[in-house]
C-alpha cells in the first residue's frame, strides 16, 4: 500500500486509538515502533480493570518509544506523549490544548469508554483527526468511529483477519465508512510515513 499517496493533503493534528480484548500486543507493537520525535499527540483508550490503578501504564511503557501519561484532569496536551485514559475515568478532549476527565455513567459497559473519547476528539479536531480501532470483544468505539467519520476524520480499523476478537472493529465497519484496514505491522509503517511527511512539511 502506498501510504504517501493516501496521506496526501491530510493535515492531521491528533491520533486516537481504541482497543479492548486482544489489542494489548498490537498497541505495544505500535508504541515500540513509533519514530522519534513523534509530532502528533496520541490519545489511547484501552479497556482495563477499574480498580487497577497501577501497572497498566508501566506495562505499556516498557517497550514504548515515547512517554506514556495517565493525565490528571485539565492536563495540557503536548507532542511526543501518548495519553492513556486512566482507570475508572472517561477521558475527553476538552479543546486542542487540554484534556478533561469524567466519572459519568459507563458507556458500552466501559469506563473509560472509547466512544466517549472518540466523540469528544471528533468535536475538537474534526477533519484533522486520525482514528484507529483495534481488536475487541464489545461494540465500544463503533459510534465514536461514526462520529469521527461524519466530522470529516480518517478511520482505520485493525484488519479483521488479524484480530483475536473482531466484534469491535466489525461493529464500526457495519455502521460507518472505514478508510483503511491495516494489519498490526502496517500501522507503525503508516504512522512513520505520516510523521515523516509532517516533519518534512509535506503535509
Amino acid at each position: 500500500m502506498n501510504f504517501e499517496s493516501i496521506l496526501k493533503n491530510k493535515k492531521f493534528e491528533a491520533i486516537v486509538i481504541g482497543g479492548s480484548a486482544g489489542s494489548f500486543t498490537v498497541i505495544t507493537q505500535i508504541l515500540a515502533e513509533l519514530p522519534q520525535p513523534f509530532v502528533l499527540p496520541i490519545f489511547m483508550c484501552l479497556h482495563r480493570l477499574k480498580d487497577k490503578r497501577e501497572g497498566f501504564k508501566e506495562a505499556l511503557e516498557i517497550k514504548s518509544k515515547i512517554k506514556i501519561e495517565e493525565p490528571d484532569d485539565k492536563t495540557l496536551i503536548q507532542q511526543n506523549i501518548a495519553y492513556l485514559a486512566p482507570a475508572n475515568y472517561h477521558m475527553l478532549i476538552e479543546n486542542k490544548k487540554m484534556i478533561s476527565l469524567a466519572t459519568t455513567e459507563l458507556v458500552q459497559f466501559s469506563r473509560p469508554s472509547i466512544d466517549v473519547m472518540f466523540e469528544s476528539a471528533a468535536d475538537v479536531y474534526r477533519d484533522k483527526l486520525l482514528a484507529i480501532l483495534l481488536s475487541g470483544a464489545n461494540k465500544d468505539g463503533a459510534d465514536g468511529m461514526r462520529t469521527i467519520k461524519e466530522r470529516g476524520g480518517f478511520t482505520i480499523i485493525q484488519d479483521l483477519n488479524t484480530c483475536s476478537m473482531i466484534t469491535m472493529p466489525e461493529a464500526a465497519l457495519k455502521i460507518t465508512h472505514i478508510d483503511l484496514q491495516l494489519k498490526p505491522n502496517q500501522i507503525p509503517d503508516f504512522l512513520r510515513t505520516l510523521n515523516h511527511l509532517i516533519l518534512n512539511e509535506v503535509l
Binding site: 480498580d51 490503578r53 495517565e70 493525565p71 490528571d72 484532569d73 485539565k74 492536563t75 486512566p86 475508572n88 475515568y89 472517561h90 475527553l92 478532549i93 476538552e94 479543546n95 478533561s100 476527565l101 469524567a102 466519572t103 459519568t104 455513567e105 458507556v107 458500552q108 466517549v116 466523540e119 469528544s120 468535536d123 475538537v124 461494540k139 463503533a142 459510534d143 461514526r146 462520529t147 461524519e150 466530522r151 457495519k174 455502521i175
Partner: protein, 281 residues
C-alpha cells in the same frame, strides 16, 4: 447509547452551548457557562436523546417556557455517579494521615461538597465511627440537586451495587464487614441512621454560592472535573476560604491543584491520594 445506523447523530457546536447556557442563566440564574465543554456537551446530547429533541433550539424553547421541564433538566444534566469507598486506598490514607489529627480535637467539622446520593458520606461516617470520633463530628453534605439530597438523607442504596461495595470495603482492610452497617429493606441497603445523625443535608451550588461555614476536612472528589479552569479557580478559593488553617482538602484520584492560582496556599499530604492541607490564609 449505541446509535442505529439509520439514526441521525446530532452534532453540537460550541456557539449553541453558549446560547443554551446564556438562556438558562438569564431566565433561572443557574450558571452552567463554566462547565467543561466536552462532558457538558455529552450530557446535553443525552438530554436531547431522552426527550426526542432534534436541536439545541428546541431544547432552549422547552427550557424557557416550561419551568418544570427545567427542574428535570437540572437533574439530568448534573452528574450523580458515585460509589461507596471509591478508591479504597484513599480511605486507607484518610485513616492513617487525617483521622489521627481530627481525633485530637474536641470537635471537628466535615464538608462533603457535592455529595450526590451520599455514598461517600456513609463511607466516611463508617470510618469515623470505627475510630470512635463520629460523635465529635459536625458534618455538612451539600449538592446543587434537591432530589439527590433527599436520597442521601435516606441513607439507602440500591442492592445492585452490594457485591461491588463489599469488594471496595474489603480492599480498605477496615475491620469487620460492610454488612455490619446495613440491613436489606425493600431492595435497598438501608444503612444505620446513626451514621447520619450528625449530618446536615443542605442545598449548595459550588458555581454560584459562597462559603457558609469553616471546616477541618473537605471532600470534593471528582466534582471539579466537570468545571472549566476559570470556575475551578473560583471553587478552589471558596474551598480555601471554607477551611480552617491546617484543614484538609481531598480531591479525586486524577484531580490536581498544581496549576490553580492558589496552589501555594496548600501543601501536599498525599500526592497519590490527592490529600492537601491549607498552610496559608
Amino acid at each position: 447509547m449505541f446509535n442505529r445506523p439509520d439514526e441521525e447523530i446530532i452534532h453540537i457546536e460550541l456557539e449553541e452551548i453558549t446560547k443554551l447556557t446564556d438562556a438558562i442563566f438569564t431566565k433561572y440564574g443557574y450558571d452552567f457557562g463554566n462547565y467543561a465543554v466536552s462532558s457538558f456537551k455529552r450530557r446535553i446530547l443525552m438530554v436531547l436523546k431522552k426527550y426526542g429533541l432534534k436541536s439545541i433550539d428546541k431544547l432552549i424553547q422547552k427550557i424557557l417556557f416550561e419551568p418544570s421541564f427545567f427542574e428535570q433538566f437540572v437533574l439530568d444534566i448534573t452528574v450523580n455517579t458515585t460509589e461507596m469507598f471509591r478508591d479504597p486506598t484513599f480511605y486507607k490514607a484518610l485513616k492513617q494521615q487525617v483521622i489521627p489529627i481530627l481525633a485530637t480535637k474536641p470537635e471537628f467539622n466535615v464538608w462533603h461538597a457535592a455529595c450526590s446520593t451520599g455514598e461517600e458520606v456513609i463511607s466516611l461516617a463508617i470510618l469515623l465511627d470505627q475510630e470512635g470520633i463520629l460523635n465529635k463530628a459536625k458534618i455538612y453534605a451539600t449538592d446543587i440537586n434537591h432530589v439527590v439530597l433527599q436520597k442521601a438523607a435516606s441513607a439507602a442504596f440500591p442492592v445492585r451495587n452490594l457485591d461491588f461495595y463489599h469488594e471496595n470495603y474489603a480492599k480498605t482492610e477496615f475491620p469487620g464487614q460492610l454488612s455490619d452497617y446495613y440491613t436489606i429493606e425493600n431492595g435497598m441497603m438501608q444503612f444505620d441512621k446513626r451514621l447520619i445523625q450528625n449530618v446536615k443535608f443542605k442545598h449548595h451550588d459550588l458555581a454560584r454560592d459562597v462559603h457558609f461555614y469553616k471546616f477541618d476536612l473537605i471532600l470534593c472528589r471528582n466534582v471539579m472535573i466537570y468545571f472549566n479552569q476559570e470556575l475551578q479557580n473560583r471553587v478552589f478559593e471558596l474551598l480555601h476560604n471554607s477551611l480552617f488553617m491546617n484543614g484538609f482538602l481531598c480531591l479525586g484520584a486524577k484531580e490536581s491543584l498544581i496549576w490553580c492560582k492558589i496552589a501555594d496556599k496548600f501543601e501536599t499530604v498525599n500526592s497519590h491520594e490527592k490529600i492537601f492541607r491549607k498552610i496559608k490564609s
